[in-house]
């Protein structure tokens, strides 16, 4: 019953490639355009590249980069956990859970992030004291809002709650992209719902969830600049703007911030590439498979198209993406 790969590989064909003059023409055109753009940027004295270079490594700027990263990853981490929770609640057969999830998503997607952040910042003014207890009944634990919800936490929570609503829809789309047959097979093996979600459904849903989530992370990177609404004033955009107005050179400092955002985005994109590859394992005919030995020769791909890899999840074109 065992079929082994054949040993001797044939000599590949040697043929001249199809001529592609279009590539050369387009390469030349693009090169000229790039040269013009670089020239326009570098030779224009208004950009003050010396100032850019100086402040690119400024302590305040680098610290701003640090805070921006903390806000981005912190809020995304909280948002992802919340989003999985919300998506699972949304799919549960408990009507209370479903409504709570629906309301949360409706509210946080439906109001502007800036307004939400202002409110988080005003929380200690609106509610100077917070307490845990029974509504209209006794209070067990009371604390001063200002001590607990500092500007940083207000920023983090504000960003995270807003983002969780968007991510919840992405996770939901991911979960429903997984073939219900997967859940049935796991059930038939005696696995419990929580385990099926964690071990079988979520890992497959990740293929659909990761790309838009990468998108969201990059978008979040720049949304963090809105926390000045709280006000939280340590992150990159605020720091550079402040320096810019102090030394009366706003443009070079805008460039400084832009360069940092570009750099971080590039790193994030590389990370996303590897994440996608990890969650794509087993789905692309095994090119990334750990087995290393390639797939069997392409005998009879017809049935494989139907039932093989791609059959188990469908890529959902209706994924929600933040504007």
């Amino acid at each position: 019953m065992e079929d082994r790969p054949s040993g001797q590989l044939p000599e590949p064909l040697h043929a001249r490639p199809v001529p592609r003059p279009g590539r050369w023409v387009s390469a030349v055109v693009v090169l000229v355009l790039v040269a013009m753009a670089v020239n326009a940027l570098v030779t224009n004295p208004n950009f003050r590249w010396d100032t850019v270079w100086l402040y690119l490594r400024d302590v305040v700027v680098v610290r701003g980069v640090g805070w921006t990263l903390v806000l981005t990853f912190g809020s995304m981490a909280i948002a992802i956990v919340l989003a999985v929770l919300l998506a699972v609640m949304r799919r549960s057969d408990n009507p209370v859970m479903r409504s709570v999830s629906w309301f949360w998503i409706w509210f946080f997607r439906g109001t502007p992030i800036y307004t939400q952040l202002v409110f988080w910042g005003l929380l200690s003014v609106l509610y100077p004291r917070l307490s845990l207890g029974i509504p209209f009944g006794p209070e067990f634990w009371t604390f001063t809002t200002q001590d607990v919800i500092t500007a940083f936490w207000a920023a983090l929570i504000g960003l995270a709650f807003n983002e969780s609503a968007y991510l919840a829809e992405i996770v939901r789309a991911g979960l429903s992209s997984v073939d219900p047959g997967q859940t049935e097979a796991a059930k038939a093996l005696g696995m419990k719902d929580a385990k099926i979600l964690r071990r079988i459904v979520l890992p497959q849903a990740m293929r659909v969830i990761v790309p838009p989530t990468g998108n969201e992370t990059i978008s979040m990177l720049k949304t963090t600049s809105l926390v000045l609404a709280i006000p939280f004033t340590l992150e990159l955009t605020y720091a550079t703007n402040q320096i810019g107005s102090r030394i009366f050179q706003p443009i070079p400092l805008l460039i400084v911030a832009a360069l940092w955002y570009l750099l971080i985005t590039s790193v994030l994109m590389i990370g996303q590439h590897y994440l996608e590859r990890f969650y794509g394992r087993g789905f692309d005919g095994g090119r990334t498979g750990r087995g290393g030995r390639g797939p069997r020769g392409g005998r009879k791909p017809r049935k494989q198209d139907l039932i093989g890899a791609s059959g188990t999840t469908k890529d959902d074109p209706f994924l929600e993406v933040t504007p």
């Binding site: 065992e2 719902d193 497959q204 087993g282 095994g286 087995g291 030995r293 009879k300 039932i307 093989g308």
Partner: protein
């Protein structure tokens, strides 16, 4: 038959289906799919279920495995009432999902479209349930997994992902995966219907081998040859009821029911 048949407290009848009804939906959309099905499957025997499309064969298997809740009747597997508990006063209680999961873990199921976990290798597919449900150690599950893959002739494909396997190989991995939980009953829902004709044989061979080892099996299939050769009992379903049943020779060669004669003429 294996020694377990004489184990104390286990019934000789592995599966006892009594007057089972299944209605999907309610009100105007209600579909009455099973209309009073009764079936006994003795321990260690092979029952083949035949019937035209839509007759309720899959639904019957799914009810036995609690993947569908039955509307009326009762199903016992290995002496246990499936999905419910009857208290001293005779009141019926729905079982907690955890308990139902436990009941399911004793029953292996093989699907028409395999449903292997695509993000796991063949071996990981086989190891998943023993480790996650039984709490077996990874090393032990691995040893057992390789043994089972060897039994279905796929020891050398252990590290392959499902997408790297042919349909026949995938279905054999699926059988190994179900066997890894040491089920006392195996359900097969058209296990060869999604396969190219030349791959059907390898899967049937594994099933025949399994039957010979004394496994209790209910097999929904259109492979009349398999029914004739392996089955102890053949059941013909139509429109949600069992219309004819008996030994394969009687049912397949001397069908009394015109609908069955019709059906056989089409499949053969």
């Amino acid at each position: 038959m294996t020694a377990s048949a004489e184990a104390p407290g286990t019934a000789e009848t592995m599966v006892e289906v009594r007057d089972v009804h299944k209605v999907f939906g309610r009100g105007h959309d209600a579909v009455h799919v099973l209309k009073g099905v009764s079936l006994d499957v003795p321990r260690g025997s092979v029952t083949v279920v035949l019937g035209p499309s839509g007759s309720g064969k899959s639904t019957l298997l799914r009810c036995v495995n609690e993947l569908e809740e039955i509307t009326a009747g009762s199903i016992h597997v290995g002496g246990d009432l499936m999905g419910y508990r009857r208290d001293d006063k005779g009141v019926l209680h729905r079982l907690h999902p955890k308990v139902i999961a436990k009941q399911r873990s004793r029953i292996g199921m093989v699907f028409q479209r395999f449903h292997l976990f695509p993000h796991k290798t063949a071996l990981e597919n086989v190891m998943e349930a023993p480790v996650q449900v039984r709490g077996l150690s990874k090393a032990e599950a691995r040893r057992r997994g390789l043994e089972l893959l060897d039994r279905v002739g796929l020891a050398e494909r252990a590290e392959f992902y499902p997408a790297q396997l042919s349909g026949g190989q995938q279905q054999r991995v699926a059988i190994a995966r179900a066997l890894a939980m040491d089920p006392e009953l195996m359900l097969f829902d058209e296990p060869t219907s999604a396969l190219d004709p030349e791959l059907v044989g390898e899967v049937l061979a594994v099933m025949q081998d399994l039957a010979r080892s004394g496994m209790t099996m209910i097999v929904v299939t259109h492979e009349i040859g398999f029914a004739r050769e392996v089955a102890d009992h053949v059941v013909f379903m139509d429109d949600g009821v069992i219309v004819e049943e008996g030994a394969p020779a009687d049912v397949l060669d001397n069908p009394s029911e015109p609908r069955l004669r019709d059906f056989l003429a089409h499949v053969l």
